[in-house]
Amino acid sequence: MSNDLLFLLFFGGFIPILFIAYIVGKSKANKISAQGVTLHSQASQYGWLTALYTGLPAITFATTGIFLYLFDFYLIPPFMLIASALGLAALTLFIVTQNIKATTKARDLIENVLKNILILATLISILTTFGILFSIIFESLHFFQRESITGFLFGTQWNPDTAFLEGASRGGEDVANAQFGAVPIFAGTFYITLIAMAVAVPIGLFSAIYMSEYASLKVRNIIKPTLEILAGIPTVVYGFFAAITVAPFIVDVFAIFGMTASYRSALGAGIVMGIMIIPIISSLSDDVISAVPQNVRNGALALGMNKAETIKFVVLPSAMPGIIAATLLGVSRALGETMIVVMAASLRPNLTMNPLEDMTTVTVKIVEALVGDQEFDSSLTLSAFALGFVLFVVTLIINIVSITTIRRFHQKYKISNL
């Protein structure tokens, strides 16, 4: 039976049962109160109680059954699973209704059940992190079983092409060996990120200084949201802009100086990525600079420094932890950025110091490996997960450092609240 029909059957049977449960519970409670006994909770709450107690066991039963099915532990035929779940619902309905008394603390019981449902919802976000970790680590381990870790982390040749043939069992002697040295790819990511930060940090920081120190409130209220627009533009749009406008422009400009730039140069991708990151840096820096207490500035002004000197020598150093945190957040964003590099950088791993040449990044290689052949038994597909794992670890470390720095910064200025 198709999955869709199964869902339809389940919900088609399940929802009416819940309705019935509510009505039956409520009417039973009404009956009891009509006899003159005071109920602990309101009648409708007994209805809700019945519905909840009927529904939950059945859903838990069905979900466990599905999971066992997926894990191939216990192959319960789906139809039987649904029938038994519905049967269980009916049974619990009967039992619960029998046990409703005036002293049943419906209100508290409902409270408890709801609290547990909320906890379950919270668990989903934790499950997600574990899901990502698990899926990436699992497949990466597959990869490292076939290829060496040191070769991956320190090798400089990336030629995974023929790994597909092995996976399709068409490998053999007459096929060149696949190589998985990822150093050129890491270098490409790092280099493009460097260019991006070289664009974003000066412009972002100085914009933040202007917004928080020099601008009037009216001007600031216009500029800040406008800069936020830069953050809201989808990255695929930036990528298109980089490929169609920025890259040819760079080629033309450098041609004037007699240098040949590639149409997919690291410079083009880096500059556009920098533009995208400006709002992150400016917004966060603006917040931390504004958070520096006014008395610090007043002290400096009182000693005869002018405004620029106050900012340069007093405010900025105090805000520095926050600014560093903002930069780190920007770096982490740049490392993980995909669309801009897919459209403006190339597929060629290239270990070079020349920003005018084309190079590739980790995210581009992940996309390349997974678009097309999806069978998870070739090293080519698994290499995507190994790369993803490295990306995950690096961005995680950077994020944790950044968040702890900001937290410490806020604590520092909360205490010294003169």
Binding site: E111, S125, L396
Partner: protein, 390 residues
């Protein structure tokens, strides 16, 4: 301050320092102007490239309908005209004839769609037409038998291999379906998590760990969520590839942190007095939350959800991994068939060689940006409107 060298307060370096201070101020101002001009230039460039796509060229033709015409629409016109008129238009003729049998034996006048090369030439760009064809087009323009009209095809047709027939419709529908799935999954779970963390959770180590975990989730690169979607949703759970269902599930996970954080802030902003009044009257925690705190926090939760929606709508990388960049010309009507979304369509079109696709890509970007800007503006307006100062 006037330069009074004899005054006791005069410091010789002050001019230099003030000069430096002024330069500093103007540097920061320059940075702001630079950022704003990036934005301005960028928007201008996109609009300039894209707005021609909203017009399409049509040509006035007369067709005599008979047996032959109905069976072979491609042979109706002579060689010259065949090189100008769109195949897609000719292809649709047999169906039109079937719907209008009274046309048989008569001659009808139509405005036929011109093909992409002719259209590009009319818009003043490079095309692959021979000079003789270009001259013919000039003639027809003068005779007013060619005119440019509003391009409705763009909004009501899906993707196509024939450039003049390519539209954004299937991508728009795909985006709507995917967003529906995303919001249906992310908002309830996110709000429930926020309620738990704000109202019910005890202030211990575990809660702190959960909060750190949520913050980390917000900073994970989006492509890794794509890997999660591929490995677990498609491979393990067997959700159909390229469907709005799997795309929506992946994007829901990505949107969770934003919704949780903004809902928490909204809940926190409701003053304690409201809750205490409820407890004082004997309500349970859940009743207070459901009937009193939530309705008051609702505007904040709503704006947070809209912002999350806008972010999710522009995401491409995870959806590529999950397969939503196939060639999907028809709009889908359910969440388990293969579909594409607006940013993915933009990505696909940007890789097509025909020049006509460049302006379509830019036009698609204009549509996407307009949707995003209106969503964000709506969020800001709603926030201002419902802002209650306690």
């Amino acid at each position: 301050m006037k330069k009074n060298i004899n005054s006791n307060f005069y410091i010789p370096q002050i001019e230099k320092r003030n000069r430096l201070a002024r330069r500093f101020k103007y540097t920061t101002l320059a940075a702001v102007i630079l950022s704003l001009s990036f934005l301005g230039f960028f928007l201008f460039d996109i609009v300039k490239t894209g707005y021609p796509a909203f017009q399409q060229s049509y040509i006035k033709v007369e067709i005599k309908f008979d047996e032959e015409t109905a069976s072979n629409p491609y042979g109706i016109f002579d060689k010259t005209m065949s090189k100008l008129i769109s195949r897609a238009w000719l292809r649709s003729l047999p169906q039109k004839i079937a719907k209008n049998p009274q046309w048989m034996g008569t001659t009808q006048t139509f405005w036929a769609l011109l093909n992409a090369e002719a259209d590009q030439h009319i818009k003043g760009r490079l095309s692959r037409l021979d000079d003789s064809l270009k001259i013919k087009i000039e003639e027809l323009l003068l005779k007013e038998e060619i005119e440019k009209r509003l391009n409705v095809i763009f909004f009501f047709t899906g993707d196509s291999k024939i450039p003049e027939n390519a539209g954004f419709y299937s991508a728009i529908i795909g985006s709507i379906l995917t967003m529906m799935v995303t919001m249906t999954l992310a908002v309830p779970i996110g709000v429930m998590t926020a309620i738990y963390l704000e109202e019910f959770a005890p202030d211990n180590k575990i809660t702190q760990i959960i909060e750190v975990n949520i913050n980390n989730l917000a900073a994970i690169p989006s492509i890794l969520f794509g890997l999660l979607g591929l490995a677990i949703f498609i491979n393990f759970f067997g959700v159909p590839r390229s469907s709005p269902l799997v795309g929506g599930m992946t994007l829901a996970l990505m949107s969770l942190p934003i919704i949780i954080v903004s809902s928490k802030a909204a809940l926190k902003s409701v003053p304690a007095s409201i809750r205490q009044a409820g407890y004082g009257l004997g309500l349970t925690k859940w009743q207070v939350t459901k009937d009193h705190v939530l309705p008051l926090a609702f505007p904040g939760i709503l704006t947070g959800s809209i912002i999350a929606l806008a972010q999710a709508m522009g995401e491409t990388a995870p959806l590529i991994i999950v397969g939503m960049i196939a060639f999907v010309p028809d709009a889908v009507t359910n969440i388990t068939s293969a579909a594409t979304v607006m940013p993915a369509q933009i990505f696909t079109w940007s890789g097509m060689p025909e020049r006509a696709y460049i302006e379509k890509t830019a036009a698609g970007i204009i549509v996407l940006l307009s949707v995003l800007i209106s969503l964000n503006t709506m969020a800001v307006i709603l926030r201002k409107k419902f802002e209650v100062k306690w």
